[in-house]
Each structure stands twice: as C-alpha cells, then as structure tokens.
C-alpha cells in the first residue's frame, strides 16, 4: 500500500517508516508539520494516511483537523489517526463524517505490530479501527440500561464490534467458533433493540450510535 505519514517526532517517524516498509508498504511521503499535511495528501493521494494528532506549529490538534479537512477534500480517503491520548470527543468528530475508512488509535498500539498492521489494512479497505480505550469509555459511562442485561461474553463481543473488528477476528480473539460469534452478535442486537446489520462499518456505526445515545 502507498502510505503518507504525518508525524513531527523524528524518532517515531523513522520507526514508523521502518515498520511499514518492513511490512511491505511503501511510504510515499512524510509530513512533519501541520500545514504540510493537506498539500502532501493532495499531491500523493495515498491508499491510507497515518496522522499524528499533535503537530507543529501549534502543538494542539493540527493532525486531527488535517484529517477532517483531508476527508472533505478527498472523500473516502482512509485516515488512521494516532495520538498519545484518546478523547471520545475526537472519535466522535472523526466518525461524524462516516465511519468508513477511519481509524483512531493510541500510539501505544503501534508496538503490537501485527495488530497495528491489521488495523491499518482494515482502515485502508474502508473499515473502522477504534481504540479499545475509547470503547471502554463509551461502555463504562452508561449506567441504566439494556447493557446490564448482556452476558460478559456478549459485552466482549460488543466491545470488539465497536472497535471495528470483523467476525473472524472476534472469533479468533475470544477463541470461539464463527457460528458462536454470529449468535452472540444476534443476541446483542436483539437485547439492545438494534436492527440486524451486516458486518463492516455500518455495524460499527449502529453500535457507536447506540453507545453515544442518552
């Protein structure tokens, strides 16, 4: 895949280039400051962009803004946003324009190379990758409600669905059969009163919309 990286920290930038090249991806360009990001993306039109949230000159949320702007300019451009910390609000903003081809992960996750590359592939192919910490925040802050009626296993399934994992990955992670996963998903949707939905980002959206609902 052709990848553009936006990261101001040279150490992390080089590490990322190394990691992606070793996995057979091509890093076509890197941007080290916020204002460079959009022109670079427009010029190279990569298969996926990996963006840091906090970048010069302001060291605030330039990367996130660039991601939002880029998706307005290049619809359906897959972006994977990385950050030292995750904010539910930022996730909501990123997903506001649709969950297809959107990723939002803690930088820590890069260390789990296989999982990170997996998430990158998922985002590049129009899927979703949401950091487990964001999902945990979404899940824990709801008090009332049908979530209580889920079994622990169903909760785990819901958690993984919200992260954007597909059925096969969920089955592998929980060490159960595909059929069992489908059954759990069916139960979750029934208990939460959600219309049955195919896999992919539409399912993620349904789940997230439910979790954000008050």
């Amino acid at each position: 895949m052709r990848v553009v990286i936006a990261e101001d920290n040279a150490l992390l930038r080089e590490g990322m280039v190394l990691l992606l090249s070793s996995a057979g991806h091509e890093v076509v360009a890197v941007a080290a400051t916020g204002p460079e990001v959009l022109p670079t993306l427009l010029e190279h039109r990569p298969d996926v962009a990996v963006l840091d949230v906090r970048m010069p000159p302001g060291f605030r949320d330039e990367g996130l803004r660039a991601a939002l702007a880029a998706r307005r300019e290049i619809p359906a451009l897959p972006v994977l946003v990385l950050s030292q910390y995750v904010e539910e609000t930022y996730a909501a903003e990123l997903l506001g324009g649709g969950a297809s081809g959107v990723g939002y992960l803690l930088k820590d996750r890069v260390g789990r190379v296989d999982e990170f590359l997996d998430a990158l592939d998922r985002v590049a192919s129009g899927g979703t990758a949401l950091d487990p910490e964001v999902v945990t925040e979404l899940l824990t802050r709801r008090r009332d409600d049908p979530l209580e009626s889920l079994t622990p296993r169903e909760r785990e399934v819901l958690h993984l669905m919200a992260e954007g994992q597909d059925n096969a990955t969920i089955a592998k992670t929980l060490v159960v059969s595909d059929r069992a996963v489908s059954k759990h998903i069916g139960n979750v949707f029934a208990k939460l009163g959600l219309p049955p939905s195919d896999s992919g980002h539409r399912r993620v959206l349904a789940v997230l919309a439910y979790l954000k609902k008050d």
């Binding site: 400051t33 916020g34 204002p35 460079e36 990001v37 959009l38 949230v53 906090r54 000159p57 302001g58 060291f59 605030r60 949320d61 330039e62 996130l64 803004r65 660039a66 939002l68 702007a69 880029a70 307005r72 030292q84 910390y85 904010e87 539910e88 609000t89 909501a92 903003e93 990123l94 997903l95 506001g96 324009g97 649709g98 969950a99 803690l106 930088k107 820590d108 260390g111 789990r112 925040e137 802050r141 709801r142 008090r143 959206l205 997230l208 919309a209 954000k212 609902k213 008050d214």
Partner: protein, 437 residues
C-alpha cells in the same frame, strides 16, 4: 386608660434601656480609672526603657477596651463602627514603635481621656432625670395623658454618649484603607502559603507517581530486554517470553504516564482550550449536559454537549473550510487565535472542578440532566455546575474527598467555592477564580 399606661410603660422601658447603655459607659469609665494606673505605670517604666515590653501589651488591652465600646455604640446606633489598627508584629522594638506610632492607638487614647469624663458624667446626669421623670411624667403622661417629656431625656443622654464616642472612635478613611490593605495582605499571605504548599504536595505526588510507576516499569522492561539478549542464542522460547513481558511493561508504563500527564494538565486543554475541554467533559459524562459560555471564545453552539455520533455532534457541523494546518483554523470547535485565555493554572483548576462536579452528579445525584456555565467577568472566571438530582451533597459525605480536593485547588488560586445542595436538589456549585485576562 390602658393606652396611657402603655405610653408611660413604654417611656419607662426606653429610659431603662438607655440607662443600661449609660451604665455600661459608667462601668467602662470605672474600669478606665483602674486602667489609668496601668497606663501611667507603663508610660513611666517605658521611659526608663525597662517597661518597654509592656507597651504593645498595653496597646492591645486598650484596643480591647475600645473594641468593647465600639460594639456597644454600634448596637445602640444600629450602625457598624469599624476599627483600624496597625498589625503588631515583628521584634519587640518594632512592635513598640508600631504601637506608639499607630494613629488608631492614639485615637483610642484620645477617646480614653475624654471618656473618663463624659463616660461618668452622663450617667450621673441621668440619675436626677430619673427622679424628676418618674414624678413629672407620672403626672403628665400617666394622669394627664400627654406624651412623656422628661424620661426621653435619658435616651438623649445615651445618644450623646454614642455620638461622642462614635466621633472619637471612627477611624479616618485613610486608616481604614491601611487596615483593609493589611488585612488583604494577611489573607494573601495565607492563600499564597496554601498555594505553595499545594504546589509542593502536587510535585511530590507527581514525583512519587513517576518513580513508583513508569520509572519502575521501564527498569523492569530494560532488565527483561537484557535477559532476552542473553537467552537469545540458547533459549528462543525464553527469549520470546521475556520480550512479551517487556512489551507488556512498556505498555503499562505508557498507560501510567498518560494518567500522570492527565493529572498535571489535561492534554485536551492545550488542544481545545477550556471551552472545548469542558464540552468534551460534558459529552463524556453520561448526562445530558447543557453548556453555556459567556464572554469566552469557543464555538457558540450547539448548547447540547452530547449527541449521537452522527448528527449534531461537534463534527456533524463541518465548520468553515480554511487552512487546516494553522492552530484554531477550521473545525467548529476551534478557539479563535487571539482569544483571551485564562492562565493555564486557572483553566486546569476550572477543568478539574467541572470534571469533579459532573462525576459526582453522574455517580451520586441520580440526575440525568445537568448544566455548566462558564462566564468571564472583568477580573475573574466564574463557573457554575448545576444538576437536577436529589441534592444533599456535603463536603464530609459522599464524594467528600473530591469536593475537598476541589476546594483546596480553588483556594490555592485565591478563588471561592460556594455549594448549595438542599435535600431534594438541585445541587449547585459556584466557583470563582480570580484571573487576569
């Protein structure tokens, strides 16, 4: 007939109260005579240097004496009679100098000298007035049904005492300003000491967190990598296990660092400013929170901090297109460049107050709605958090330590916390933080 009796009774009652007032004046005068001996003694010994140590103590005694008179006069006239003295602090020579030079003390001495005379004279005048009054008014008022004429004179005597005392004891505006300033300095000294102590405690907490947490984990990680290098040749399984452990340690260290950083200064404050950060708190609180902002920059709407992932959330409204790279450039949540921002410490305190209040509301109040108001005034940041829950929150009860921490944090910045939480709700927390914009 009863009316006339009442009139007489009222006149006697009023005269009685006035007499009580005059009697305390007389009492004070008597005390003054004894005090005079002390005063003279102090003055003489002070001249011989030996008794210098008694000067400040005598001044304080004098202040207490006039303090009593001030309260009595204030009670009689219904108007406050403030006092204003220089603070008697420092070494003995300094205290002596201050006590002698203090205009407040000199004023007290002036009053003291004159009160020795009129404090005794006026009550003595009251005595014959009583006798004549009882006879004259007894006939005039009791029998002839006229208004009492003589007994009210006793009240006038008490008024006279109050008026003279007031005139003699009222501190000059300048002295009052000085005293107010001194009080303010005292207050600031205390709050600054509190702030320094709070800051010190905070630094120690951060140091401990880093030392016991991230630092320790990094040491463990480094050890495991070292062991893995040794095991690399002979024991690949062991190596893999050690590297797995090392990665776990690294991730835990990162998680802990993130917590520490959040505790020092929440990163979203840097990214989005106070308004954006508070909106994020509101959205993540699990409550339906309304956020009102007055005089601070931030996006004007939506008022509803929550909202579904798609739709009315901040990102659902794509803002004006613009230069994506410049800080505060495009998205709707932008804080415009050049907008006045409170100092970082004030923003952080405000953020933690809102976070704590919303957490308490979500956990304990049973409310599902709350509102947050941020208001910028000329010299402060005012914030109000209100929930429609069951109330009954107090500093000692549930969530007590959180509220206490909130008070400390605010007090360290010379701010105020005002909480009302009647049983049945609503709970309203009002915080004011002084702040230069």
């Amino acid at each position: 007939m009863t009316d006339d009796l009442d009139e007489m009774e009222r006149a006697v009652g009023r005269a009685g109260r006035a007499s009580a007032q005059l009697l305390t004046a007389a009492g004070l005068a008597v005390v003054s005579y004894f005090f005079l001996a002390l005063l003279v003694f102090t003055a003489c010994t002070a001249l011989l240097v030996i008794g210098a140590g008694m000067v400040p103590e005598t001044a304080l005694l004098l202040h207490r004496l006039t303090g009593y008179k001030r309260r009595k006069v204030a009670a009689w006239t219904g108007e406050p009679l403030p006092e204003a003295y220089a603070q008697l602090t420092g070494t003995l020579p300094e205290r002596v100098r201050t006590a002698v030079k203090d205009p407040g003390t000199r004023q007290d001495l002036r009053w003291y000298a004159l009160h020795c005379v009129y404090g005794m004279l006026l009550p003595c005048l009251a005595l014959p007035v009583w006798f004549t009054g009882l006879v004259v008014d007894g006939v005039w008022c009791g029998a002839l049904r006229r208004r009492a004429v003589v007994l009210p004179l006793i009240e006038r005597l008490a008024d006279l005492d109050a008026a003279w005392s007031r005139a003699l004891l009222m501190p000059s505006p300048e002295a009052r300003r000085t005293a107010e300033l001194a009080e303010r300095v005292e207050e600031l000294t205390v709050t600054r000491a509190g702030a320094v102590a709070a800051h010190g405690a905070e630094l120690r907490r951060i140091e401990r967190d880093l030392h016991d947490g991230a630092q320790a984990r990094l040491v463990a990680l480094s050890m495991r990598v070292g062991l893995a290098k040794r095991a690399y040749e002979n024991n690949p399984d062991m190596t893999r296990k050690l590297l797995d452990d090392a990665q776990d340690q690294a991730e835990e260290a990162l998680t802990e660092l993130r917590h520490v950083v959040r505790g020092i200064h929440p990163p979203i404050l840097t990214d989005r400013g106070l308004v954006g950060a508070v909106r994020a708190l509101a959205a993540g609180s699990g409550l339906d929170v309304r956020v009102d902002v007055v005089g601070l920059d931030g996006e004007p709407a939506p008022a509803d901090g929550t909202g579904p992932a798609e739709g009315t959330g901040p990102a659902g409204n794509p803002g004006s297109p613009g230069d994506p790279g410049s800080p505060g450039g495009t998205a709707s949540a932008a804080v415009p460049v050049g907008a006045p921002r409170a100092p970082a410490a004030v923003e952080a305190a405000a953020y933690f107050v809102v976070a704590e209040a919303l957490t308490n509301a979500a956990k304990h109040s049973g409310a599902d709605r709350a509102s947050v108001r941020l208001e910028r005034t000329a010299d402060r940041l005012r914030l109000t958090v209100r929930d429609e829950g069951r109330g009954g929150a107090d500093d000692s009860g549930r969530g007590g330590s959180g509220l206490l921490g909130m008070r400390r944090r605010v007090a360290a910045l010379d701010g105020t916390v005002d909480m009302t939480s009647p049983v049945g709700g609503p709970t309203v927390i009002e915080v004011e933080l002084p702040c230069v914009w």
